[in-house]
Symmetry: C2
Subunit: 286 residues, 2 copies
């Protein structure tokens, strides 16, 4: 079922709750790919009912980012969801989510603001305000759908840590279920933004996963100095890559690591042409 | 029943929800007086079950405010609640609400931040960060108790507007029920901070309600220029009063009014000795 209003979702949820059914939520911005599908499959398996939200959230885009040209493919998204056994696809308009009249700013809108320590690094450093927008919309979706479980991809690892922190800090009654990164056979992590890549750029994009896999392999052979591990990246980078960050942080607290351990996550962001790609790996991942 | 942990409250709430019972929440900082009691009575009347939270929330006190000396009277509070038919009194420790280890700052804690337009006036102007702390703790309490109704006093009128705005902006599934100000026969609005007043100061404190009642009476006789209405206040003020603000704002949007109307609320804050008192009135109040 495809619904566009908060009221319709709430009515449906209310019925399910009355029947004692568990509800899973998969929040997305649409342009669904196999990465999203893996979250959806997990929710359909784990929960009695599954809601997929499809909403390109304006307040998580920074000035100059790709809000207008972000891919919108609701028809295909809906088909994918239906085939996967999703019960409700919730695709609200910006007006339905934020009302109209006022500019979407912290002058006139209540925001959920994640802690500075978690935000002031990795993607948060260049995408100022991005995670404020993410937390605010996810908080809204949690309140609208009141899911028992919510599914997030490990691909957006900083986002996942920040959402879990929000859930803990605000005592939100939901269990966050992290789902592993889905990769092409080449190693490239799936992303809606891969659509922007030319054939050549897609080749260059393989550097991200190659760098991460190589670092993991070095770690497993006993190299724990994160400076030394970082150095190994340069062999994979050329003039087509603009490295934004390569960082070694604790997977839960996002504290910087000088010495890598099993709970260290390596985060990378690289710009290729105009496309900004991210990837990450946990050093103890199988 | 008196409970101190989030887990105990949740267990109780879960049972009630399963039975299809409605839940009312009255969030307080304790030191309960007849004003709080009126909220409690309303909740007990309206809802199948009532939870009163008693928590002196550290993050809504500003530096130099009265966090340490704020009255704490849990035993009496509990008796009042029990007599009024409250089902659960939830009195958590700061550690239970915020964990321990880190300083309570936006470096390490997710905050719910109300819009600047609503905050940058009245009490928010002098109490920087106060409403961030209020929204954050109320959001947490809403997530812990998941009430159908939540009861707030009109005494803290700016707080009430801000909470309603938060509920709307974040789609929180709760109905906020505003409750009228309770006054002593003298007109003095009840407040936990009245305990700080000496006998003499209590006399001076009557100025607040006298000013408001007089303004309302002037308005009902046709004076609508808010400048002229404000002028009438000075007849009631002397060297014992330090007027912090006297403002005429739209009761819902907190927009400033040059010309008073039925939806204009008059807000006043006065410091008497070291005690800061607030009061307000809607010009169309009966």
């Amino acid at each position: 079922m495809l619904v566009h209003t908060i009221e319709e979702v709430r009515e449906q949820i209310k019925k399910w709750k009355k029947e004692g059914l568990t509800v899973g939520l998969v929040p997305t911005m649409g342009a669904l790919h196999a990465g999203h599908k893996s979250l959806i499959v997990k929710s359909v398996e784990k929960c009695d009912r599954t809601v997929v939200s499809v909403f390109v959230n304006p307040i998580q885009f920074c000035p100059g980012e790709d809000l207008d040209k972000y891919p919108r493919t609701l028809e295909e998204d809906y088909k994918l969801c239906e085939a996967a056994g999703v019960d409700v696809v919730f695709a609200p308009s910006p007006k339905e989510m934020y009302g109209e009249g006022h500019i979407l700013s912290n002058d006139f809108l209540t925001y959920v603001i994640p802690p500075y320590f978690y935000v002031n690094k990795l993607c948060g450093k260049s995408r100022v305000g991005h995670f404020d927008g993410v937390c605010t919309v996810v908080n809204k979706l949690f309140n609208i759908v009141q899911p028992d479980y919510a599914f997030f991809g490990q691909k957006d690892a900083q986002q996942l840590v920040i959402i879990r922190k929000m859930v803990k800090d605000l005592n939100i009654p939901v269990e966050v279920v992290p789902c592993p990164i889905v990769r092409e056979e080449s190693g490239l992590a799936l992303s809606s933004r891969n659509k922007y890549l030319s054939g050549e750029e897609k080749e260059y994009a393989l550097a991200l996963s190659k760098i991460l896999f190589n670092i993991k392999s070095c770690y497993s052979r006993g190299i724990v100095d994160t400076g030394a591990l970082a150095e190994t990246a340069y062999a994979y980078l050329n003039e087509h890559h603009s490295l934004e960050y390569l960082e070694f942080l604790d997977a839960d607290t996002l504290e910087e690591k000088q010495t890598a351990d099993d709970n260290t996550r390596v985060f990378i962001a690289v710009k290729i042409g105009t496309v900004r790609l991210i990837d990450n790996i946990l050093l103890s991942d199988k």
